[in-house]
Amino acid sequence: MATLDSLGGGSGSLAPQLRRRHRRNRGMTYLLTLLMAGIGALLIWILSYVAIKGVKAINWGFITDTPPGNPDAAGGGFYNGIIGTFEIVGIATLIALPLGIGCAVYLNQYATGRIAGVLRLVTDVMLGIPTIVTGAFVYALWVVEFGFSGFAGALALALVMVPLIVRATEEMLRLVPGDLKEASLALGVTQSRTIVSVLLPTARAGIITGVMLAVARAMGETAPLLLTALGNDLFVETNPGQRMSTLSLQIFGSATGGFVNAQNRAWAGALLLIAIVLTLTIMARLIARKSAVRR
């Protein structure tokens, strides 16, 4: 403790203070470790609660039948909602994917100065628009003219996905080393060819990750679909021009109705939805780790 003594004061006065500081340090470390453990436990609580309730309720009929006409009746399933979710999210992806990637390429490769600033701000701000507002917009734009439909739902979900895809793609394009682009241009390759054959493939894994996360996000959305796809539990609807149900809409409807059997179907639906979304999310992470360019 020679160095401490030389700092002034005897070891008798410094050592207790030092001990206090170390105790405080240890205390905070324990506290934050505990906090992290608590949050991990919370996640496990949420996931396991849904899993346990869902496993009890799920059966083969759940994915092959539509809900019974009487919500209090047992049996039946969310087959129409499962179809609806995949169809609506599929159409939304078809719309959002080219738009999002095109917008990101323009932002990253062509836009300059003020236009770039405005576009970047707009895509960022779009991320923050509440999805229910997006739903209300699509209602005013589309549903007023053509009625509630799966396609209207897909439009709303596409609007939710586009800013996510733009953000992810642009971030990845920014990470592609400038040398690659310059080398390609120096060989006489045109700019569009360079983008399509050099930049986008290099950033591919990151873009796929971003798109998968956007798809996962769209699968879980409920609010905008309430105002656009509306839901339809009477029969299996595959025509996107008609009102359609989705898993999320059916969970919402069945969970809040107050019928035990409907709630059981909703638990099974929640388990299925969470399983799909988590699988997509985790797969997206795994792909990101294999990426050529990484954050």
């Binding site: 949420i46 576009l119 991320l127 586009v162």
Partner: protein, 334 residues
């Protein structure tokens, strides 16, 4: 064929090829510029259509009459009467702000703690996985949070709320905030689920803010004999207050717009402002979700669009502010 004409042929073919390439280049450029334009137009159209659909109600009742009242009674609306406005929205603004403030009060300290732990305290090889764990909260769909909240969270909150209201309910002034009884669905319950839902975004931004704290300052603090906690306080937390504030704003923007989980947990009472956090209410998104497809009274649907427009304006302001604050810390964040 002579050598000269052959050369001319080649030159012509090359020129044609060049022309085609240039055309493809220009076409591609227009294509991507077009998609950027569509995105811009979609944004402008969102604002335009919301205002347009709410315009009939706004011009019938007057803009100010909406934020002047906290009674939402569509059944009393009469198409020919414009006063008093049956569509007061103040209680929805109140509900939105109250639930979001409860959420931020809970989520921000936890997020800061988690971010510190993940960036500076956790063992090196655990940092990435732990960050993923927190991110997973963002993957759980809103409707599942609401469902879980009703059945798993409410029974747990019950004794907590009862204790809070019996301890704090008697204190003057703040007592009213904790006045019971607690029935389950409430601002409090919605706020807690919102806290869980905004946790991943606030934690992620805080992590990035803490990560740009200069290593040299951290090392300097340690070299001067600071303990790790002192180093974190002096070199990381102190210079990150603006970043934490920005992260909170971006979290707040999320909380304002969150719909389904809140709708399932807030009780959906649209008639007045309830002071107690254990009371039932409604938020701007929840009233839209609840009444939109059943809006049959005069100016009912248009008034819901007024709520939507107000929600859009408020979230845009909060998000842009948050963005500005955070982007001043570092260009790459958020």
């Amino acid at each position: 064929m002579s050598a000269a004409s052959h050369r001319a042929e080649t030159r012509k073919a090359q020129a044609l090829h060049q022309q085609r390439l240039r055309f493809a280049d220009t076409a591609f450029r227009w294509l991507v510029a077009g998609s950027a334009t569509v995105v811009l137009v979609a944004f402008v159209a969102t604002a335009f259509f919301l205002v347009r659909k709410s315009w009939p109600a706004l011009s019938h009742y007057g803009v100010l009459s909406f934020i002047d009242s906290s009674r939402w009674t569509p059944s009393t609306a009469v198409a020919t009467v414009s006063h008093p406005n049956p569509y007061g929205v103040l209680q929805f603004v109140y509900g939105t702000v109250l639930t979001s403030v409860i959420a931020m009060l809970l989520a921000v300290p936890v997020a800061v703690g988690l971010a510190l732990y993940i960036t500076d305290i956790a063992p090196q090889q655990l940092r990435r996985p732990l960050a993923y764990v927190v991110d997973l909260f963002a993957a759980v769909p809103s409707v599942v949070y609401g469902f879980w909240g009703i059945f798993a969270l409410l029974p747990v909150l019950h004794p907590i709320a009862d204790n809070l209201s019996s301890w704090l309910g008697g204190i003057p002034v703040i007592g009213g905030v904790f006045a019971g009884p607690f029935f389950g669905p409430s601002y409090f319950a919605a706020g807690i689920v919102l806290a869980i839902m905004v946790l991943p975004i606030v934690t992620a931004i805080c992590r990035e803010v803490f990560a740009v704290a200069p290593v040299s300052e951290k090392e300097a603090a340690l070299a001067l004999g600071a303990t790790r906690w002192e180093m974190l306080r002096m070199s990381v937390l102190k210079r990150s207050t603006a970043g934490i504030f920005g992260a909170s704003l971006l979290g707040l923007g999320r909380a304002f717009g969150e719909t389904i989980a809140v709708t399932m947990l807030i009780g959906n009472s649209v008639l007045s402002i309830t002071t107690s956090i254990f009371g039932q209410g409604a938020t701007m998104p929840s009233v839209i979700a609840n009444e939109f497809t059943e809006a049959t009274e005069p100016f009912h649907l248009q008034s819901l669009f007024v709520v939507g427009t107000l929600l859009l304006i408020i979230t845009l302001i909060v998000n842009v502010l948050g963005k500005l604050v955070v982007s001043r810390i570092s260009e790459t964040i958020a």
